[in-house]
């Protein structure tokens, strides 16, 4: 059986003045799957989404969305997509319900009122439904935005950093909605700066760096390629060597020392290394253990490993710190 690609782009290029936001973007998203477009700030994720949703015209390259040419059949593409952009896009002067009814009508949804009520309920907005959206919290706006892109079940859903800036409790309904949609056959392309989010949702990941896809693979593949960080902190400097020996045996990797903190770390690709096993082994070896941690790889680790650098320098240092935290 041949794979049908619902989103297929070749060599997409976009330039803003001197900035080459996209430098030949190739993406292939198989029907019914979730593709996580992963990259740091400024990598070109938003530009890619804006091109693929007909908001911007590519300078070069081409793409087909659900079988239709992005530029020549833009109207047909618009009938098949749902979009939640990076910034909210709802009318604050209208209530949540009025927003959804309007978009449902424009999508030619029969029973627009019923559909609006159903979505409000699903995203926990029923109580706030008849208040102007300008008074909604960030999380509520984001959910209303997502609801607005689902008024008619789209064949392809584009989500640009759907959970950036949301508290963990507000992320769950967003993730649930994505899973439910894919269960019903919708293809999803979502961008994110969080490896963890891509890991939870995506079947495939496209790592974007400086306007190009630098690497593709499955989340598990990507993670095992980079490995888990193991770090232990010991009570006195003398125990560091013993601890390093244990880590060496467990991970088979060269340990690295942080002598100021009496810490030693290593990277492992071994999924059977759990925290209890680590602690037990260290304890058995008589290491005076103060702290031990297993940290899953972050986007920064992935970039360090695969691109050999920290990725695109960001225009937003504050967000970078958030990401590193």
């Amino acid at each position: 059986m041949t794979t049908t690609y619902t989103v297929l782009s070749e060599g997409l290029e976009k330039r803003f003045g001197d900035v080459r936001a996209l430098r030949g973007l190739d993406l292939a998203v198989a029907e019914g799957t979730v593709c996580g477009v992963l990259g740091p700030n400024g990598a070109g994720k938003t530009t890619a989404v804006r091109l693929l949703t007909t908001l911007l015209r590519p300078d070069a390259g081409s793409a087909r969305i659900a079988g239709h040419d992005l530029v020549r059949e833009a109207a047909a593409v618009r009938r098949r997509i749902g979009v939640t952009g990076q910034d909210t896009s709802i009318d604050g002067d209208l209530t949540g319900r009025q927003n959804l009814r309007l978009f449902a009508r424009l999508h030619r949804v029969r029973g627009a009122a019923a559909r609006a009520a159903e979505l409000l309920d699903r995203f926990g907005l029923t109580e706030a439904a008849d208040r102007p959206a300008s008074g909604y919290s960030g999380g509520m706006r984001r959910r209303l935005d997502l609801a607005a892109s689902l008024v008619r079940r789209p064949e392809v859903l584009f989500l640009d950093e759907p959970t950036t800036g949301l508290d963990p409790a507000s992320r769950t309904p967003v993730w649930d909605a994505v899973r439910e949609l894919t269960g019903e056959g919708t293809t999803v392309l979502l961008t994110t700066q969080y490896l963890e989010e891509a890991d939870r949702l995506a079947d495939d990941i496209a790592l974007v760096d400086r306007g190009r896809v630098a690497h593709t693979g499955t989340p598990a593949g990507l993670k095992s390629l980079v490995g888990t960080h193991v770090e232990v902190v010991v009570a006195d400097a003398d125990a560091l060597v013993t601890a390093a020996g244990v880590l060496d045996r467990l991970t088979g990797a060269e340990p690295s020392f942080d002598r100021e903190r009496n810490a030693v770390g290593a990277v492992t690709g071994d999924p059977t290394l759990t925290l209890p096993r680590l602690v037990r082994t260290l304890d058995a070896a008589g290491v005076p253990l103060l702290d031990a941690s297993l940290r899953p790889p972050t986007l920064d680790d992935v970039f360090l490993r695969l691109v050999g650098g920290p990725g695109t320098p960001s225009d937003h240092p504050a967000e970078d710190e958030e990401r590193a935290a």
Partner: protein, 260 residues
């Protein structure tokens, strides 16, 4: 119903709902002309002589047109706000016909303006303004006023899509209050120095104000004025046609192409 009309109607409804939910701008644009009528009417009215008319009867049509020219501001503010809030982008990803969004906005604005002239004209009646011509003339005057408003809103929509920024639109919009000052909206142009008079009479507001005064029978067409004012009805229709022919395509194109 065709796609275009269906989408336009939906956008029209949205625009009305939006104004109802957030009536601040509406209240401002409605109370402004009333207070100006009372202020100008009684302060300037005692000092200004208008050839062949009572000042307050001269002022009422002038203020109607000056208020209609505020459509530039309203249109600009609303469409800039839509761009700024991302609403325009969402609409652009929907299968909505390109002209429907600005058309719905302009049409809703004209309907609201039409409703707004009623309280204003009641105050006008209270201060002595009357329809002194034929009923048909009066109907023509209102129709011309709304046509002019329609044209002004399209200018605003284009500028709003161009500036893309609520604050900038607000500031630029404030400047539109200056436009009627250099026209015959508040004062007769006959008394102005030659150069200034020519500029004022080529201001579209002057042609429309003169046409309204003529159709309502409030004041005669001034002698020796520039062509659009000397032939006010034809001049006004001409101005509206030119403005619409220029700004409708510009606005629709700007809407469709977005941020590039």
């Amino acid at each position: 119903m065709s796609t275009w009309a269906y989408d336009g109607t939906a956008m029209f409804g949205r625009q009305l709902r939006r104004m109802r939910n957030n009536p601040g701008l509406l209240v401002l644009t409605q109370t402004m002309p009333v207070s100006m009528l009372l202020f100008f009417g009684y302060v300037f009215g005692s000092a200004l002589a208008v050839p062949g008319a009572e000042y307050r009867s001269f002022l009422v049509p002038g203020l109607l047109v000056a208020t209609a020219s505020g459509g530039v501001m309203t249109g600009m503010f609303q469409s800039a706000q839509d761009v700024h809030r991302g609403v325009t982008d969402r609409l652009r990803t929907l299968p909505v016909s390109r002209a429907a969004v600005p058309v719905g906005q302009a049409a809703a604005d004209v309907v609201v303006t039409a409703a707004g002239t009623v309280p204003f004209l009641l105050v006008g009646l209270a201060v002595g303004w009357r329809v002194e011509g034929s009923a048909l003339g009066a109907v023509g005057a209102v129709a011309l006023l709304l046509l002019f408003r329609f044209a002004c809103v399209w200018i605003g929509i284009f500028l709003g899509l161009l500036t893309r920024n609520e604050e900038a639109a607000g500031q630029l919009g404030g400047a539109t209050f200056l436009l009627p000052l250099l026209s015959s909206a508040y004062i007769p142009t006959e008394g102005l120095p030659d150069g200034l008079r020519t500029v004022a009479e080529w201001n579209p507001i002057s042609a429309v104000a003169t046409a309204l005064r003529d159709l309502f029978g409030n004041a005669p067409v001034p002698e020796g004025a520039a062509w659009p004012v000397a032939h006010p009805v034809a001049g006004s229709l001409g101005w509206c046609a030119v403005l619409l022919a220029v700004f409708v395509p510009l606005a629709v194109r700007q809407y469709a192409r977005g941020k590039r």
